[in-house]
Subunit: 308 residues, 4 copies
């Protein structure tokens, strides 16, 4: 299979549709991004890299960071994480507070905002906020094998200034006792971790351990156990796209996590880690062209986890 031809075909097929969807505008910094950009990178488990489009342009990974923060939290707190956050799809929008009230402050899963805020609280542990953010950046640089990764402070500031809904979620959970640190500290970590800027090339590299039984196939180092990698993939598949998770599984058939910056990380177990990016979002808040690109990819490669 000529994967370079595959990504070129996809980029070419979508070139006329660049700009489709609606760029997230609730965070001013994100609203400034050129909507006509598109990128795709496949990094295979044997270390080959195939890119097309704007694969060297960094974008804000936003909620995709939730996968890596969960990985960090599991490393620190192990399975006790699941006492404070669930593992079920939410059936509601990414920032809904309704279920949180019905379920007494326990978020449904670590990939909705409320769940990710609890994960930040766990990662904070005995760190100071800056240390926790530093720990996360080091981890991401290690996974992406690139020391140049940085947090876009303008985005982090922009989110802080417009983060009333997330502040509400954090205080709400604190009222149920499910936030142990100062709300401002937890949100400081939260707003910074999702403001990491990455290219599709870096992102696909960083997610490779999830396609390779938890170990980095290039360096050989283990990031998580094979069992934990499978479980993170399972969560990505059932909960990775908010209230569009079922549809993504239906059409794409791969574990994936999207961000409002327009990026999606997808995992083809045993085969490859794939990152796509295009800023315009569809109705449920996932990259419109990014989703299409991944659907084309699985149709051409047969990589769906639901096929033979």
């Amino acid at each position: 299979m000529d994967l370079q031809a595959v990504v070129d075909d996809i980029a070419s097929a979508l070139s006329e549709r660049r700009g489709e969807g609606k760029v997230a505008d609730y965070i001013p910094q994100l609203a400034k991004v050129d909507p006509k950009q598109f990128a795709i990178t496949i990094t295979t488990v044997d270390g080959q890299v195939f890119s097309a489009g704007d694969a060297e342009t960094p974008f804000s990974i936003q909620s995709i960071s939730k996968v890596f923060m969960l990985t960090l939290a599991l490393g620190q707190a192990g399975e006790t994480v699941w006492k404070r956050v669930g593992r079920e799809p939410s059936g509601t929008a990414f920032n809904s507070i309704v279920q949180l009230e019905q379920e007494h402050g326990i978020p449904r899963n670590p990939f909705i905002n409320a769940g990710a805020i609890v994960i930040c609280d766990i990662v904070l542990g005995s760190y100071k906020p800056k240390e926790a953010i530093g720990e996360y950046v080091r981890f991401m640089r290690y996974l992406a094998d690139d020391d140049m990764l940085t947090i876009d402070r303008a985005v982090a500031m922009s989110e802080t200034a417009t983060g009333s809904r997330n502040t509400a979620l954090a205080n709400f959970m604190r009222s149920f006792g499910n936030l142990h640190h100062d709300v401002a500290h937890v949100l400081g970590v939260y707003f910074h971790q999702c403001a990491l800027a990455m290219t599709t090339r870096q992102l696909s590299r960083a997610g490779l351990f999830l396609a390779a039984q938890g170990a980095d196939p290039i360096s050989g180092y283990s990031v998580v156990s094979a069992s934990r990698a499978r479980r993170i993939n399972a969560l990505m598949l059932t909960c990775g796209h908010y209230d569009g998770s079922g549809d993504f599984a239906f059409h794409v058939g791969l574990p994936g996590k999207s961000g409002v910056g327009g990026g999606i990380l997808a995992v083809a177990p045993g085969k490859a880690s794939i990152a796509v990016w295009s800023p315009g979002l569809n109705k449920v808040g996932n990259s419109a062209l990014g989703t299409l690109a991944l659907e084309m990819l699985t149709n051409q490669t047969g990589w769906s986890v639901f096929g033979a």
Copy 2:
């Protein structure tokens, strides 16, 4: 891999725990079942069959039928099915009516009761209820390659008599215009299709096409296209266990569909179709030992769709 040893090991490991969980008692006929029964059958895509436990004892497949009814409905109405039923996990109990009001009579997916009732309405099409039920039984006999399959009329009657909640769901959807036939006719089909009695051997045989790109690997006949098989598997993974779907994906890692009779059908794409049965249910209404058996199976075989 010696699959006979695998199923024997599982049956043996669970033998002392037989009777765990709580037998469904809201349908009187189901409450009479001996809780200490357990069965497992693996049918591989190359036609081999491995069973342990009570694999020749028929049980009521209940909601597992929803997979096969969806297959029938897709055959009759194609992708128009999705105009009347969604593809997203529900985040609520199997018989909840709340989301149905919020979403104007469109059930979240075909594997909750409301969705399955709409599917029955679609399968009814221009049939009379008895003809639709006959069509379904013929389809199941064909898939299971066994002309002895029958509907347990005592169970169907028992469900009809206690079916107020389902009657409410059906009338509620009709009030939104999402039920086209007479409510009594639709429910007649609904209560009969889930009262089919099957053994784990028959059930694993019937599900084999889902593990084999949509074609029966033994006869060679195509049941559905490869793409449709993948999509049905995706729905089973995200929605197959009600509000325990996320947990099932997390622990077992296979598309599956459970029934309150204690059966579960699971699909390992490209490898095998697996049926387990044990009447005692866990807190979210899925077979307690059945779920454990499948978790043991994927741990021993590495068949999780989320691993390499």
Copy 3:
């Protein structure tokens, strides 16, 4: 105070606005009513009657019947009624099923559809459906002091044919054990009792006992105790206009009960019973001109229960 001048003024002031609002169209028979009709009748506790407009034209009282059915049910079952239905405003639409699920089949109050269906179940008691309906008609004729009152069978049939939502509510409550009779029988009573046709003159006469400490001030006979009359009035004030009850209390300041036929019964304790009718409904489903007429009335008479 010249009450004839008051009602004449109101009718005159609203004459140019006749036809405002939207006639209920979900029941075909109601949709046929001429929207330009308007009537008002005040019956004072000393027996005087003041009417203006179409006060001799019968209309379908619809949900206003819920006040009288509650009175009957309290007569038969006493305070045990409150074990099966609440006394709190619902905060939702008249036919919502959401709270019913959260509160396990106990409707919030007797003036939403679900609550009124339970009340019908209570009134059914050991009667046959036809007997219960007969009992209700006799009671209404007695209260209105008019043997000509009849149920409009065309409306009753029309509601039966379009009553999927109410059928859903009834079956849903039955699934929680809060309906003791056959659903079809209960709904038979329900659809007939709200199809009673009355003029504003008859309706204001029938409600007079609520303004007069529970006794008919003209005949002298006691209908309910003074305490029960107060409590029925309280329920009308807090729950009588579905999710517009707060607004009605705010603007009108009288206990009242509306129906989708465009009628409203209002009670000025110690002073009078008032009936208004105009078919066009406002956004929350209450008569648009009827509500305005009552607001004008309380402004002119000072009859608000919240003033001196």
Copy 4:
């Protein structure tokens, strides 16, 4: 009618039940209050005062302040207040966030916490927080005709420290644009205004204008128009006791507002203003003995707004 005998009878009848109910413990300062206290004061519109029990012991008025803050807000912003807060009963707990999401940040009424926070935002207007609090205290001293009224700063601090839920509500509304000032400033006002300490004598005096068509019958000064007084009373009746408002109207039949400190202010239009206090709360969060005392009062005086 010998009102002194009435209050003495009530105090005597309830003396053995002192301590019933559960003292609010989510605010540490409130949890310290002796639960066996009880007080009642009636101030009639002609200026007579009748007290029994601990009528000179100040208690934290808590949510009762919402009535007075609403009065201030209406004075400042007039009917535009209703663009930012509704007038309907909530059907949920006092601090629920669910409806706020469904209704896009517009609280159902000014007497639930979310609504009162918006009212604080309105009262803040162009004031600084300390000025707004000062304005409120002056208003309360004026109404109570007592310059000794003060805010209990220990309670205000205690609420600030435990106010995560209210902070969540405030940020949540801000995310919908329904909070115009800094969240910390609004909450500063909110936590202070409800920490006012008053005796039943002072409180019944302060509420007198609501029983007297909006004017203070003793000084003769107008506080609000007669129409506005009626409307505030209407809101107290439909929304004054959270999800127990219907029951309070049913049993007591007077406009009233309760606070978690165990106080209740009730208004008998044209007759009197009544304050009761007893710290133990019933299941819906209203003073257990206070509610009983008011029910006894209306039974003995016939002051229910729903009777003749």
